[in-house]
Symmetry: C2
Subunit: 406 residues, 2 copies
């Protein structure tokens, strides 16, 4: 390895804090059906109160609460049945003292009433007369007209990806289109004379099919982005620079899986330097040290290591948060995780983030080792654990948090 290569090395923490996109993606309206996990540009407020009317939460009778005070099995209140409220319709009757109106759950409280007594505590002892055996307090058995949401209150927050229940609340408020950030477009370029398309049936000696692009496309989709697989570029001088120039205008983020040999990495670094400003060359992460970050006139570029496992690890740690930021979300949604006990000692160098693939069995996290060139390590893993930058390692038996793949 040349000394030059890691001259501008940085920590992952530095990269997350300092390598920030210079832009956010454009904002456009989408329907609720297209809004799941999209990021609203701003808070969206309720046009009116919800539910919008004083609503019964039980089946029973709308009453004046005072008419039920002191009611018991031994000494019931007797109320005149004045009518019934129908679902979805305005009441056509007013509750006067000593009267009551039959109410379905979800019905509109009639004028004059201030509570709904549950049907369980009533009986129609004679036609037209309702016996009430429990008192109900004013406000009992109902929700206020603005109890779910007040007019002007936020329904959902800008910057937080929309979850399924959010879509329900927006629908309830009559908001059927939402201004959200566009999915970041991610151009994925593979490089290397040895790399051939996955559809290649028979390989010549030394050829490898492009694994990284397909896997990266999946990670991009999971992070709310729109992958654009931009093909394989040879190690021929100038070829990568040409391809970068072509893809940059239509990309919010460019990802290059660099060749794995020193020569190929140097070629990548040169091409990137020709189209942008290199922010760091070398990241204190294992695996993934030969990572390159650059700013191409506001479009971030990540030069990933050549081997697929390292490339995917780095993209998960650096690319995924960057993608969410491009879409206007500073705090990515939580990932699945589990607590487990480490099955063996795990040494690490201070100042370097270690990402260790693990299998989890019966509460034990077993690190999977092997040459980092092996992609099957990733597919055999249930998830990974992170040994943070300051740590010099973890002891067997330590409780660790494993981020689970899904």
């Amino acid at each position: 390895m040349s000394g030059r290569e890691f001259f501008t090395a940085r920590t992952v923490a530095d990269a997350l804090a300092g390598f920030r996109p210079g832009h956010r993606t454009a904002v456009a309206d989408v329907t609720l059906a297209d809004a799941l996990h999209r990021v609203p540009a701003t808070d969206i407020t309720a046009p009116g109160p919800l539910p919008g009317f004083v609503k019964s939460t039980v089946d029973g009778y709308a009453v004046r609460a005072a008419d039920t005070f002191g009611a018991s099995d031994g000494l019931p209140s007797y109320l005149d049945l004045l009518g019934a409220v129908l679902m979805g319709a305005a009441p056509d009757v007013t509750v006067r003292p000593g009267g009551c109106v039959a109410m379905p759950t979800g019905g509109v409280l009639p004028d004059g009433a201030d509570a709904v007594v549950m049907v369980e505590y009533t009986a129609e002892t004679m036609p037209g007369t309702i016996e009430v055996t429990r008192p109900v307090a004013p406000g009992g058995g109902l929700v206020r007209a603005d109890e779910d949401v007040a007019a002007g209150a936020p329904l959902v927050s800008g910057g937080r990806p929309l979850r399924a229940p959010d879509l329900g609340l927006l629908a309830a408020a009559g908001v059927t289109r939402v201004a959200v950030h566009a999915r970041p477009r991610v151009a994925i370029i593979s490089t290397g004379d040895e790399v051939v398309p996955p559809s290649t049936t028979t390989l010549s000696a030394g050829q490898v099919r492009d694994a990284t692009a397909s896997a990266l496309a999946g990670l991009v989709t999971d992070a709310g982005g729109e992958p654009a697989v931009a093909g394989i570029v040879s190690d021929e001088p100038g070829a990568l620079k040409t391809r970068l120039t072509e893809v940059l205008p239509d990309a919010d983020l460019v990802v290059v899986s660099a060749g794995s040999s020193v020569g190929a990495r140097d070629e990548t670094a040169g091409a990137v330097a020709a189209v942008g400003d290199v922010w760091c060359h070398g990241l204190a992460i294992k695996p993934g040290k030969p990572t390159l970050l650059a700013d191409c006139a506001g479009t971030p570029l990540i030069g990933l290591p050549g081997n697929p496992l390292s490339a995917l690890v780095v993209f998960g740690q650096v690319g995924v948060p960057l993608l969410w930021r491009l879409a206007g979300c500073e705090t990515p949604p939580p990932a699945p995780s589990t607590r487990a006990r480490l099955s063996r000692d795990l040494p690490s160098a201070a100042g370097r983030l270690d990402v260790v693939q693990v299998r989890v069995r019966d509460g034990a996290a077993e690190p999977l080792f092997g040459p980092s060139a092996l992609l099957s390590v990733l597919t055999r893993a249930d998830g990974y654990l992170v040994v943070p930058e300051p740590s010099t390692g973890l002891d067997a038996g330590a409780e660790v948090e494993v981020i689970l793949y899904r």
Copy 2:
């Protein structure tokens, strides 16, 4: 509530164990670009070994390991440089005793060599002569031709949703189409005379916009299904039965958000009983008791409670695992979660599953209460915790696992 209504009540555990779909969705080939989170019908095995050749994992020199034994800074081995291996090409040279060949990371090991010594431990002291200052063991600096995956070994497992790295391994093996289960089609029917489409600008008294269908569609999408919002059906006798008959032929699962009043629930139960066999009527879950499960000639049907929060809770507990099973996956992917300390006592009835919405702040889980008719409880929550069926409640300060919304 009528006693009849909960005559065939069951626990959630019973439902998960016993209310199982009678079919799986059809299997069809998709491209890797469409395969993310889809469920392969069977194991997919490697057509050949990976990487498929003996591959260098370092930049350096291919050697006969025996030629480096005993090499040190004080007493280096000197080897004749016989040529160089190029990326993606077969070596055109054989390593004879006392010779070596320049190797890039990822190159093919030439005949005669059995190890690669890292460039860091070498120097080209004279043109054509390489000085080696560290010994390398046979097999050092390389991976075997089948070290990533052996021919015939499983690349991915049937029944486990495909993750991004799986797509990479399949691509590496030249598998570009995968036989996966179709996304289960979920017909979502809303009922109730009071329910109007979300696009309704001005509500009449007592009307509510359909919140549940939009939110359910999101949950269905999250669980790998394909939602088909099938509109709003009035409480008019016969209307629901007619609609059910229409949607059943094209659905793998039918979800009905029943009206919330007793009358509307009875109407739903009657319609469902007319088109299928009721498996249970009443579920021991809070919120969500008035849930109905039925088998319509092999197509499962879930009759959800009328209020949106309860409906979404029940769908998450019962509908989501059912959807994954329909797609051939017995163990749904893990959900994000976090451990927190309960901020207050949480009573519960034994024999009933309680699903409690919580906010999580600084490691404390604060239950959000309020009438279950309020959808905003769900959107304010960070997640929920489950008080299991045998429990009679949890004490303040207890460590709980909160399932986080994403």
